[in-house]
Symmetry: none
Subunit: 299 residues, 2 copies
């Protein structure tokens, strides 16, 4: 088999059609170049150059081989550059998981930051609930997640990217739908409540259980998705506590009221990644996100 140096020699001679000048261009003397070409022709098993003591020309086989040789050399250069860029984190692929809720809120910002500051990094998006994200990120099948706590801190790093209020969603036909101002949580628990499932939507479930005063509300449904929850509210099945960003869904038949008697912005969303991951593009993305969000979040 031939070597890349032989290819470079061949391309130079094919372009100059002159061994001496080609050797000069390659910063070498003419004799080794001659032998390089001979060796290449033996390796290929075909005459590539016609040299008749006075001038050099390409054979048909040489013309065909020249194309391939140029292509190989170009690929070689490109491969170097590409590998270096990947290592520097300037290019590559990041697999990003997000919760359905974050698609309405902070995900567009993240995508914006990523495409602006890392234009050559390719993003693969997968929708996934928080606990599944934690598993996939820990396993390495996903690089970063937009998810809600808790995370196993020894494996995963995380940075807070969003805090938001909890609103009360009520049916449009409900007596509270037309009112103004906040409604006290103590008052709200008198209504039938649509609750989050403790398994798939553990974060919201636990958050609400912590906030609820002792007697506890009357739970009429347990669901996983905020969208399902709002559909049930619209159908008049009860009221629900939802993060403010879900208001952007603009669902027919649902009205929102502020809540009193709850912490100001209790709903957190984090960007989360495997600490020991060796995907430089992922680390670059996280760094960008950190710079964008970390100082900007009023705590």
């Amino acid at each position: 088999m031939f070597t890349l140096d032989q290819l470079r020699g061949f391309v130079a001679v094919a372009e100059e059609l002159h061994f001496g000048r080609a050797a000069q261009r390659l910063l070498m003397t003419q004799p080794p170049l001659s032998r390089q070409i001979q060796k290449l022709e033996r390796a290929v098993g075909a005459r590539l150059l016609d040299r008749d003591q006075r001038s050099v020309s390409l054979t048909a086989a040489g013309q065909a081989f020249l194309e391939d040789a140029r292509r190989m050399l170009a690929t070689a250069d490109a491969a170097l550059a590409r590998a270096r860029r990947v290592e520097a984190g300037a290019t590559g692929t990041v697999r990003l998981a997000f919760t359905a809720g974050s698609a309405l809120g902070v995900l567009p910002t993240i995508l914006d930051v990523a495409t602006r500051s890392l234009p050559d990094v390719h993003l693969e998006l997968v929708e996934m609930v928080s606990i599944d994200q934690v598993r996939h990120v820990a396993e390495g099948s996903i690089d970063v997640g937009l998810a809600r706590p808790p995370f196993p801190a020894e494996l995963l790093g995380s940075v807070l990217v969003q805090r938001e209020r909890l609103l009360l969603a009520v049916p449009a036909v409900h007596r509270w739908a037309r009112g103004e101002g906040p409604i006290a949580l103590t008052e709200a628990v008198g209504e039938p409540l649509i609750m989050y499932s403790p398994a798939e939507a553990r974060y919201f479930h636990d958050l609400l259980v912590r906030l609820m005063p002792a007697p506890g509300p009357r739970v009429v449904h347990m669901v996983t998705q905020v969208l399902t929850m709002l559909s049930l509210v619209a159908a008049g099945r009860g009221v629900a506590l939802v993060p403010e960003s879900s208001r952007r869904m603009r669902l027919e038949g649902v009205a929102y009221r502020e809540l009193a008697g709850v912490p100001q912005e209790p709903v957190e969303l984090h960007l989360m990644w495997a600490k020991e991951s060796r995907n430089p593009a992922m680390h670059a993305l996280v760094e960008q996100a950190r710079q964008t969000f970390e100082p900007g979040i009023p705590l």
Copy 2:
């Protein structure tokens, strides 16, 4: 700069993920192989392999470089064969790219047509996803592609060679696996769905997004290859929508059902080439394909 031998060494180690076995495969001992890789990494200027005393794995840069390395080695082999054929007086060569999916469907027919009507034209085959095909055909490093739309019409010509149905693939243990008759798409979206990646498998991704009714399915995985998709189905991770031809893979643990509520044959495959190419053998092949397929496709 690196050498082809170093590339061969790297590819072997990347495939075996083990220096000893890779060295065995290359008919050499392990120490020089280790140094070959070190030298390659120095030449590239990036770590390509993570080796932690016990196991070897590819870095992100290594994954990117592996693709290029494989391409260079393949080009090297092809260049030898091509130069020899040209010297032997054989007429032309056509480099044909195909998607993994088309290998099961229309590719055999194309090969049949080509070898029957153009016996002296040599065909080089490369497997490649559609977007890569478009790039390579536009650049001229591939002559024709069997790919899915869209194509930039000002650069590339194309002709439809296949339309096929979309089937629902379900795990063999699923309750639908033993049934008969079509399943409505509206019913199917209730199941967890394995989806196509929007980047590498853009055609299928966009097609499914267009077909899906509003609430949207629960996407549990995003993959690029139909084979991966069917493996996940076989593993019981969810259901998938796949082109009918993939049925020929006969994967254990997967059952197929027809779909109702979708267009009859929504999956298209085209033969596609660079209009301004000067490869006569390529144009002859395209002409043959056009005659074979153009009238035969019932639209």
